[in-house]
Symmetry: C2
Subunit: 198 residues, 2 copies
DNA sequence: TAAAAGTCTTAAACTAGTTCATTTTTTTTC
DNA sequence: GAAAAAAAATGAACTAGTTTAAGACTTTTA
């Protein structure tokens, strides 16, 4: 029985939630991953590039966002330890991404390249199941979120986010939270003042 | 070479976009499906029930929606021929659904039950790949849509929807479109008048 | 550790979208 | 094919969220 470095243990635990791997498969899987570090304010990728990796975060915090025609950011997700991130659309189609991924803390990631993603399915077909379930679960939460944005007021969306992701709220700026909730930083400030007053 | 009924040809074509099945596998797959008909205004399922099936629409049009505390509907998708629908969350967790699915036209569907979904993966593991890709693609469009709702004005959302789904716009009421876009029917009416005037 | 840059707060004037009420038009039903 | 029901249009008064601008507070950087 080998012993793994911290980041590898973390990703193997993540994978083992949905599928069981033999020791050999674990080693094979890890051999397909690259280690990546990004400093705070550094970019993991920028709009216009074709995504090279899907990422697993072993340490840190990142934001995934687009810029609209006015240059205003719209954050689509915050990713912290034990989360997966990237631009699955660009990763699959090999077309240029519209997203930026920027570290809001010094971060460490494991990445699987597009080529190795294909190798993975050939060598360990079980990973079809892993990704089937991973995408299924992400899909459930995005279906919910896509209704959320149009069905709730900004104040309700803030309260829900804070309840669901208390650890994340503490690690990000109010301004970034506003860009995620879909309002101006000024209105975010008003909401927080109002909610705390209660 | 067998010949299949229309709905079966349609679903086999859909599946064959992502995986290749042998003749035997096709027959096995079809044996796991149930045929379902719903009349216009009829419910395929209602909130509070545990979802029994995932559905493929071979004919007709349906809307998937929740009701908020005020009883106002929020439509999360319209499903027409060659689309998949259901409540994937309730289907997987076996918890009661919060969704209603109602036919807006007389419709015909093929359903796979939760039990047969598990059998399917055991007997034809290739379907892990099919669902991996199906969920991946749905995920891409829901990620996009979840930003959409908070990043664009109602008028922009309407224009985008009309451009992307011109066939659907023609088949649904303005009121239902409003419940999808996330605005009141009155404001939807104003937007349409304004956009057509241009 | 001082200066610079970025974040947060507050407030006044504005705009997108809601609510409520009424009338007209279209669709459904018997 | 007439009556009933539902959908669409219109308008006036309202509310949630934006814009712009300025000052206070915090964090980053040299």
């Amino acid at each position: 029985m080998l012993s793994y470095k911290e980041s590898h243990t973390l990703i193997l635990n993540n994978v083992s939630r949905f599928i069981d791997l033999t020791e050999l498969e674990k080693q094979k899987y890890i051999s397909l991953l690259s280690e990546i570090k990004v400093k705070k304010k550094g970019f993991l990728m920028q709009a216009g590039e074709v995504t090279q990796y899907e990422y697993f975060i072993s340490k840190g915090c990142l934001k995934v966002y687009t810029l609209d025609e006015d240059g205003a950011p719209h954050i689509s997700m915050f990713a912290i330890e034990d989360y997966w991130t990237g631009d699955i659309s660009s990763f699959m189609t090999k077309e240029p991404s519209r997203y930026y991924i920027k570290a809001t803390e010094n971060s460490e990631l494991l990445g699987i390249s597009r080529a190795n993603y294909d190798v993975l399915f050939q060598e360990i077909p079980k990973f079809e199941k892993f990704y089937r379930i991973l995408y299924q679960r992400s899909l459930i939460s995005y279906i919910r979120r896509s209704n959320h944005g149009i069905s709730f007021t900004a104040e309700e969306r803030y309260i829900n986010f804070k309840k669901k992701y208390p650890q994340i709220v503490k690690r990000i700026t109010q301004k970034d939270l506003a860009a995620y909730i879909g309002i101006t930083p000024e209105f975010m400030s008003k909401i927080i003042t109002k909610v705390n007053r209660k």
